[in-house]
């Protein structure tokens, strides 16, 4: 019916792009991280990275931020998704409003939350206006690491819950209504229907959402740059620093490989924890 080469011809443009702009760069960056100028294998860049005083803080901050943000996003998105599936009217309108942050750049999200947390910002205006504090606080000053962290976490939750919501709503759409109805017939409460029917069947979507969010959380960059500046070192910020301020592309590459390493590790862990037993797929 068609020449056997046709599908491959159709894939060719995208494969060519992938080879030149994905596989080749990856080999190059890995090589950059483990070789010196003469092309010899070296671990010097990694030890320089590990020895730098900011590495530990950047690493811990990135992990803490991920731990603080992702579980809340998953829980919030689950709640939003079940609200949406229970709606008879206005479903599309609410879904649109809740997915608005999907179109917002991380830099813009940082700036948006800056308008709330900066010293003359809206939070201070409300706090002072309602009498909670005497004068405006410097929430984002270097002495207030806690509120910087909180502001960044809130901005991330605000910005990136939408993507989880979209994945989960799409996943809930795949679950046949009959399963829930059957559970209801057998007397399951709404909560039981949710935990015993919806959640287990939603596993594949939860897995996708969680992997994607964790990986992207390790790459948080512009939100932190806008809200924390240099007061909150994170891994991506260090990649940028080493590349541009310290001008050492090798150490920057080592940092990038660390991000890849923890991304792969967490992906495997999530895949194992949320694995679907064989034959239990929809």
């Amino acid at each position: 019916m068609y020449p056997r080469s046709l599908p491959y011809l159709l894939l060719l443009p995208s494969l060519a792009l992938l080879a030149v702009l994905f596989l080749y760069p990856f080999v190059l960056v890995a090589w950059q991280a483990i070789s010196d100028d003469g092309g010899q294998f070296t671990t010097a860049h990694f030890s320089e990275m590990l020895g730098h005083w900011k590495f530990g803080t950047a690493f811990t901050n990135t992990l803490l931020l991920t731990l603080a943000v992702v579980p809340i996003q998953i829980a919030l998105a689950l709640y939003m998704a079940s609200l949406v599936t229970g709606m008879s009217r206005g479903r599309d309108a609410f879904l649109y409003i809740w997915t608005i942050p999907l179109g917002i750049s991380d830099l813009a999200a940082g700036i948006i939350w800056l308008s709330i947390f900066e010293q003359t910002g809206f939070l201070n205006t409300f706090m002072v206006g309602l009498g909670f504090s005497e004068q405006p606080e410097t929430f984002l000053g270097y002495q207030n690491k806690g509120t910087i962290f909180l502001a960044i976490a809130l901005a991330e939750i605000w910005r990136a819950t939408a993507i989880v919501l979209v994945i989960l709503v799409a996943g809930m759409g795949l679950i046949p209504k009959e399963y829930k109805e059957a559970a209801e017939v057998f007397g399951a409460s709404r909560w039981q229907q949710f935990t015993k029917v919806t959640l287990p069947l939603l596993k594949p979507s939860l897995q996708t959402a969680m992997i994607l969010r964790v990986i992207l959380a390790f790459e948080v960059f512009a939100v932190v740059a806008a809200l924390g500046g240099t007061n909150m070192p994170i891994l991506m910020g260090e990649v940028y620093n080493w590349q541009f301020v310290l001008r050492d592309a090798n150490v920057a590459a080592a940092f990038a490989l660390v991000i890849l390493g923890i991304s792969i590790l967490c992906t495997l862990i999530i895949m194992w924890f949320l694995r679907t037993p064989k034959g239990a797929t929809l």
């Binding site: 060719l12 960056v29 609200l83 700036i111 809206f122 201070n124």
Partner: protein
Amino acid sequence: MTVDGTSKTMLWTFRISTVVLCLWVLVPIYFLLTNTLSSPEEVVAFPKRVWPSFNLESISFFLTFSGVGAAMWNSVLVASVTMVLSIAAGAPAGYALSRFDFKGKSFYRVLILMTRAFPLPLLALPLAVLYIRIGLDDTILGLALLHTMLALPFAVLITFSLFSGIPVELEEAAWTLGCNRFQAFRKVILPLVLPGITASAIFAFVISWNEVFGAAVLTIENRTLPAFLLQGLDQAPLHLKFAGGAVLVIPALIFIFMVRKYLFAMWGIANR
């Protein structure tokens, strides 16, 4: 269901949380717009006005600020090239995935999904080196190629779901009426998928328009708007940041509104 006490409480919890969640999303954007539509003095004044004064000084100051016009134009150019490249490479692949069974199909899908989950610096850093070697450094095309890599998985997945939604019988009917494969595609399939393809192109545009890290790494003179704003974060006065944020947000919001119908099709497919 009977309207007893518990279900009434449920209904109200349901309604209140829906409204609260809407406010949670909308109020921060409102604050940004209020700041943008206030004069530079009002932005740093305390306590702050909660309603915009509709003073256009901040925004006009931003738009006439040296470099902003060029950065916006660069952003539009990069995003347009990204849009064209990702559809040109992604749509044929989406069609192949939906219509043919061939060896290596599942490998290709995994590969495409992997690019989406790949840390951005691993692409951006080596490309910076590669581009200097081949003379693509600090160019529109160079950055657009990186953004194409980010948009490609979405282009492939959304076109795959579009083509899968069109019965192959339609194509077969065209063949029996004397069309060859290409004619059948152009006259029967293309008109049907065009709105969806447009949506996926717009989505590619938004991805490129919003992208910060790669743009900051790969451009120096020819900065796009996000890279320009990032560079100015340390020194720029507040009203400039807010106006810049608003200029970044508003087009993206309009575009996302245009493609909202397709967002779910896209991610529904990505699940499987």
